[in-house]
Symmetry: C2
Subunit: 339 residues, 2 copies
């Protein structure tokens, strides 16, 4: 097993705006050797998520940057292939934040064993993983949809948006998705069961969104930012809630021409008693057991549906990641690193 | 009693930006006669509050506009001087939304009897009235200050700000006020007991605010808007709460030149898990009995302090109101209409 070579992808340079292939570098190296109390992990699946774009910049947020030359961060499903750690045996399947690489050494910190009998392994990186939990906790704590209300979410075919809309429906609310292109919109309506889905690529997107929300918007689950916000903000009802978990459209943009819309937004916040609240899923870690139990059961029963977009081979990770930032994936994006 | 004339102040024209005397008109009229089941009220004190500026514009918010030619709205302490209503007797002292006038007819709707033995009558328009309740409910529901945290509030010598800071101190938090000029700042520190107060008229205001908040800001109680927000926003800590109850600095301003600060603010909301939440005190009406009990006891005991700025004569109301919008009042602004 340790005769094979290892591969890893490191950050070669900090992108200006959209990342390019040249911002990443694939490196070959010998498979590392675990020391005392350490594990050797072989990556099976790597999750690609929008937050990774933020890690490529100089840190301005809660999370540290990836340093130039360091392995890109990411959550993985991995197999223990060598163990000097009493808590893990060869063959264990684990979740680990081991990054964009085929092999990783771990001391067990942040590693969690998972049972593949519960649900397909890959769901632990999507609907039953960080994206699903982001949807669950943001809706439970901040969104709080009520029967008859209207919930809007963008990137609706993605793992966060898909779950948000399905949770809205379960709460008796109307789920309106926003997605890019007719194929994704059809999937959101027909497969995920949203009440409606509007194509943000349509030239009359804002008008169509308004038509689709005749009673306004009570919850806007913000995971995209600026471009979509312009269309949604005028539709927000009194007491609307806006959980903010991502701003993928704003990454790498540092200058926004006027007019300055902040004072008008604050006026809306006041006159409509709006709540705008940012969060990362770790903020609500105490809800994780509830999430696994409630959503796990509904995924198993088929009540909650999801879509995965799986790319093969670590070497294809940068291309897949860059595509995701432009919405080219269709469903939760994963890289199958080994099988 | 009904031989005297009545006076009222009506909206003569809609202001562009700051109101002027010409936007109001004082009218003389006979004292009105109450019909069956009606009361005749004689205004003792009229409360002047920033929200009234919003009512002078075409309605864009929860509250209706004052129509041209209509009496300006406002909350009053009044005496019942004639009653055909079983619930009220001549001599009763009441709170009523009877507006900028010496006399008003009421059917009892929205009228509340008050007991002058509890606290000075005027407090029911200030620290024990709508402004005090705005402070109380916003801090209890949204601000939620914790021991050791830093709470910042502007217009700190006014009735909302003064109460916010004193509630912060009672919660074990540090209270930092912002006020206009050295006299107000000294009052906020020495009489209201804030830990610190920064003069927003100082040329280095933003730097001084930052120095005064070495551990950042955990609660910013927003009642002023744009100008102060620019200085506070960079200081907000992770998980900071921003109750928004007023934007007095933005009234009548409709164009804000770029750059557009909204995307950067949303990025802060996300990266710092901020909560920005607008409210009006009616949103939390269920807390009103708690407010009267808790804050009433503390006002009576002298633990909570307040300052009133009382102007004599209904005819002086427009000047006093216009001055308030520029911060010329010092404490809760009231008009003594009759004694």
């Amino acid at each position: 097993m340790t005769n094979e070579n290892a591969q890893r992808i490191v950050l070669a340079s900090r992108p200006k705006g959209k990342p390019t292939e040249g911002d990443f570098r694939l490196e070959q190296l010998p498979v590392p050797k675990p020391g005392a109390q350490e594990l050797l992990l072989r990556t099976l699946y790597l999750s690609l998520d929008p937050y990774m774009r933020g890690r490529m910049d100089i840190a301005k947020s809660y999370a540290p940057s990836v340093a130039i030359g360091d392995v890109m961060t990411g959550e993985c499903i991995a197999e223990v292939i060598e163990s000097h750690h009493a808590g893990y045996a060869v063959g264990d399947i684990v979740l680990a934040h081991s990054g964009w690489q085929t092999h990783a050494i771990s001391d067990g910190e942040g590693v969690r064993k998972i049972d593949s009998a519960d649900a397909p392994l890959t769901t632990r990186l999507g609907v039953l993983g960080m994206p699903g939990f982001t949807a669950y906790s943001g809706m439970r704590v901040i969104g709080q949809p009520k029967p008859g209300e209207t919930v809007v979410v963008a990137a609706a075919s993605g793992p966060v948006g898909a779950t948000v809309g399905q949770l809205a429906r379960m709460a008796g609310a109307r789920a309106v998705g926003i997605a890019g292109g007719p194929e994704k919109c059809a999937f959101v309506r027909n497969e995920l069961g949203f009440d409606s889905c509007v194509d943000h690529q349509a030239p009359d997107f804002a008008e169509r969104l308004a038509e689709t929300c005749p009673n306004g918007v009570d919850v806007y689950f913000e995971n995209v930012g600026d471009a979509i916000w312009r269309a949604v903000a005028p539709l927000l009802n009194r007491f609307a809630r806006v959980p903010v978990c991502g701003l993928i459209s704003q990454f790498g943009v540092s200058e926004f021409p006027g007019p300055d819309r902040l004072p008008g937004t604050m006026r809306d916040v006041l006159s409509k008693s709006l709540t705008i609240r940012g969060f990362i899923n770790y903020d609500f870690a105490e809800l994780y057991p509830d999430f696994l139990r409630e959503i796990g059961a509904r995924v198993k029963s088929g009540e909650i549906r999801y879509k995965e977009d799986i790319v093969d081979g670590l070497e294809n990770t940068p291309t897949a990641f860059i595509g995701m930032l432009s919405g080219r994936n269709f469903g939760k994006l994963l890289v199958r690193v080994a099988s």
